[in-house]
Symmetry: C2
Subunit: 355 residues, 2 copies
Amino acid sequence: MEMNIALLPGDGIGPEVIDQAVKVVKAIGQKFGHKITFTEAVVGAAAIDATGEPYPDSTHEIAAASDAVLFGAIGDPKYDNDPKAKVRPEQGLLLMRQKLGLFANVRPTFTFPSLVHKSPLKLDRVDGVDFVFFRELTGGIYFGEPRGRNEQGTKAFDTNVYSKHEIVRLARMGFEAAQKRRKLLTCVDKANVMATSRLWRETVQELAPEYPDVKVEYEFVDAVAMRLIQWPKAYDVLITENLFGDILTDEASVISGSMGLMPSASLGTSIKLFEPIHGSYPQAAGKDIANPLATVLSAAMMFDYAFDLKEEAQLISDVVNLSLDEGYVTEDIADGGTSYKTSEVGDWLAAKILA
Amino acid sequence: MEMNIALLPGDGIGPEVIDQAVKVVKAIGQKFGHKITFTEAVVGAAAIDATGEPYPDSTHEIAAASDAVLFGAIGDPKYDNDPKAKVRPEQGLLLMRQKLGLFANVRPTFTFPSLVHKSPLKLDRVDGVDFVFFRELTGGIYFGEPRGRNEQGTKAFDTNVYSKHEIVRLARMGFEAAQKRRKLLTCVDKANVMATSRLWRETVQELAPEYPDVKVEYEFVDAVAMRLIQWPKAYDVLITENLFGDILTDEASVISGSMGLMPSASLGTSIKLFEPIHGSYPQAAGKDIANPLATVLSAAMMFDYAFDLKEEAQLISDVVNLSLDEGYVTEDIADGGTSYKTSEVGDWLAAKILA
Ligand SMILES: [Mg+2]
Ligand SMILES: [Mg+2]
């Protein structure tokens, strides 16, 4: 297959971890005979430094023309501490999502056999957990109008708003993902009290007959907040609105015990972007110590979600687990034992893929 | 002290568990020399059967004239399965909250030494956890207008709205509770994106100087959803709006491993109501098998929150823990061992108080 991949390393440890993902992707390309082209572009503080804009048009053109985007992280403390800064790196993230039309945030939760003991949950509750959230990312109460204050400033309001087409496109992604997984879809809402939630539930109910192989369950957001802790293995694919997803995906991220290793995807109608859920970690930048596994696993998600290449995705996941089992890891998860540089871990993973 | 307590047993197991709480409260009154008067009134399905209304005026008058209300549970399946039913028992709950002006829901989370092993969390994370949520109960997105659909029905909206005075009265309760506890208050919001949350944060910041002995922290709702699982012992008192509280109090309820034993309070400007968080459990009604401990612990909360009688509250909590340690419990938590009737547990607790 031919693949045209845009690389947006961003700030902090972004460039270092993206480098390792590139090594892994190249190794996969070599092993499976894919022709992969990489095109790099700036975003975030790096882009402000270079062009004055956090998400310049030149970067957008490269991302929009790609088959998939591999993104590192955004954020540089020099802008946080500068009250005069007119543009901030984080604006690049919002602009990028907006301009690329990335309306679905995909957040898997799974465990690593050799790290699951770090979970705050008991082993029998969490071992083998494997679910994925599809969170609506561009609608809901974070964007709805009107929002603000009354004249006296004594009353504030936000508007949660959803149109049917926004729900349909997100829900279809969830149904399709469920078809390729364990065929269980959970629609998370608060339909007993919220009008938007009733539209979500009604819309999902209308779509369900088109996916007869998928079992659909409807649960209230507060019940899911409980059951994610009690019985996380009961879930497969969950779909939800922006605010509920913001809360629940973060809750979900800690149950594996390996939040720093979790990948994610943001999907639009045509564009697909993959990124670690961790940030730019500026204190570690340039030291060759950052853990590249979340970004490497984001590349695995790319093969799965952007190219439907399960075998390639699985092989990356397998070598990542091998590196954990054999302790070929960066210092953050070495538990005081022997640790390796960011670049050494990338080389090791690429070599194992080709071995 | 003279205490005038309204008893609203409600439906299902409500009457049985309230009976045990009354035994315990009477024993406390006898031991500490309080003159306690009980006045009983109907609510829920029991009230519909008797008067046609789920929260009749006669009941409201008794509750409104009391120093504290002990409430059991509401709900009867015969109304769930009757589509022609014009009034439903659950309406009694909403009416009661509304008419009594109960704007704060108080939800403690703590562990029982002999039951903490049932927590889904690892022992070192959860053992000794002790925090309490103050959730705003009558405002926010569940009540805000406008709400509904556009003409075509293709777009839905809800409005989250908060007035400063609603935040002030809830926040003051939180500050005052923190002063009597470990002096840490966490304001839970989403002030980085929501206008209502910015008003919450700003209002709490304005009040903070009046409580110089309380340390105030501000955390985003998604961060709290994570930290409740990772480091629940870090919290003392948390205050938050209605929707966030709905989600987070349910998440919090499962971490102790003893959800069925958790008490709660709903507080207004003058009225204070205490109730178990469990429901009416109609399958068990009349069998003398229901676990009365959540209701008994709600009575402990009553002595603490309604009468500021810490010693009385602590003694109830102590005898409850004693019953757990000695296995004098109902069958739901007997783990297949010897179990006792609801009424026997109540008698045992009252006897231990007087012993
Ligand atoms: Mg979040
Ligand atoms: Mg709830």
